[in-house]
Symmetry: C2
Subunit: 238 residues, 2 copies
DNA sequence: TAGATAGAGTACGACTAGTACTCAATTGGA
DNA sequence: TCCAATTGAGTACTAGTCGTACTCTATCTA
């Protein structure tokens, strides 16, 4: 985006007719501009709130800067002074309300996995999920966004997941070989797939199925040894 | 709709005043309209080809009906007579070039899984992947599309996957309990996640990791009930 | 061969993206 | 305390797309 800067041609006085409009409605004092104005964080928050509301109501595809501005009772200029485009605005709006993943530690692997997968599912419901859907399409135009999205959405569940698995490994119920980022992505990935394919909300039964049919069978320690498999060349068997 | 107005600079001269041009270059007969016209399938194919080319070149976000029409040397009217919107056009264009999943049957589970996951990865490269990305954003406005996308993209890999697993189960290397649609989605889901997060092409090493770290450990049969079996159904064969 | 169908080209109204400019209200520094 | 700089609100403008409609004509069909 934003390449041909096209340095302004010789512009002359363009605004001609605004005098008449402002002149006739208020003879003396308070026109529409006389209200106290929001600034800084207050205005920022109002814009974020409007953005998220638009996401929720209309979805990313129908979210326009004009409508966000109108809803926030701000001007387009104020939006463009802060964000170069819709994409960045939405990213920041989402980030401003980012739900933290809290690593559960109940001592019960299955319960912890259910909790964590539930958090992943919850994070996709509401405006955040809409944004994820919508921003996917922008990625082609904006490779930088791909990195952001990856960090914010895909990778954010990995450390908590690995921590849960690590604690399970310490207790001996998780096989250590499963402590890899890829394995940690399996559960969250299935949740996200399901969201993409079926939308929100994500049924708790589905979350339970993911845990019981996939994640647990994949990571659980087996009686005689570590990995359930001796694949090609790997397996330095202790 | 209103995915409008990209700051796109590739201006296509649509509204040229062609009267002058046609008026002076041809006094009597053949104007610009005199060329033979394509119809039916021939025109359809040209439009599909133009759509896929636009997808590949510019991505879904920058794909406009005007550009597709120009590229196909067709008129917007011809496009709108066939498809009510960009969404349907792209869906049909993708469908017209749908790669069939071929169920591999080498007798070697790991090899078959690698082949099948490779097919899933391949299907996301090129215009099809672009379309999947782009259509995700339309889903909110068009719930019908969600069902289509699910069938075309998500579910299409499940039957071949189940078939590969079923054959493995017959050979005794796959535990029968893993023959569920959810388990069958794990591998393809990870591939799609990776595509969404990293784009195309998808490294063969990643595909191998999915198979070796996730799919095989998940489905492989264990000695007694749940205990791991000694070997996978792969590497032992010459 | 005449009528029906459909493609090409064009025009148009409605809408949004961004930019730019005016004017007023805060803010912050001297 | 006062004034200059900053910034929000409102507006206008250009460029570009959407979707529809209308004309003209090539091709198909009865």
């Amino acid at each position: 985006m934003r390449e041909t800067a096209r340095p302004a041609r010789p512009k002359l006085a363009v605004m001609a007719s605004s005098d008449a409009a402002t002149g006739d409605d208020a003879p003396g004092a308070d026109t529409y501009r006389n209200k106290p104005r929001r600034r800084g964080d207050e205005l920022n928050d109002a814009i974020y709130a409007a953005t998220l509301a638009e996401l929720t109501e209309s979805g990313y595809a129908d979210l326009t800067m004009e409508r966000v501005a109108a809803r926030a009772k701000a001007s387009k200029g104020s939006l463009y002074r802060r964000w170069p485009s819709r994409t960045e605005l939405v990213v920041d709006a989402i980030r401003s309300r980012q739900p933290e993943h809290v690593v559960p530690d109940s001592g019960d692997l299955r319960a912890d996995l259910l909790t964590l997968m539930g958090q992943v599912a919850a994070s996709l419901e509401g405006p955040r999920g809409e944004a994820v859907r919508g921003l996917a399409v922008e990625v082609t135009r904006n490779p930088e966004l791909l990195r952001t999205l990856r960090a914010e959405v895909m990778d954010s569940a990995v450390p908590p997941m690995l921590e849960v698995l690590r604690r399970g490994a310490v207790r001996g119920v998780v096989r250590p070989a499963s402590l890899t980022p890829l394995v940690a992505q399996v559960g969250p990935g299935l949740i996200r797939q399901h969201f993409m394919a079926y939308g929100a909300p994500i049924a708790t039964q589905f979350i339970a199925d993911v845990v019981d049919q996939v994640v647990l069978p994949l990571v659980i320690a087996h009686v005689d040894g570590d990995a359930p498999i001796a694949k090609a060349g790997s397996a330095a068997r202790p």
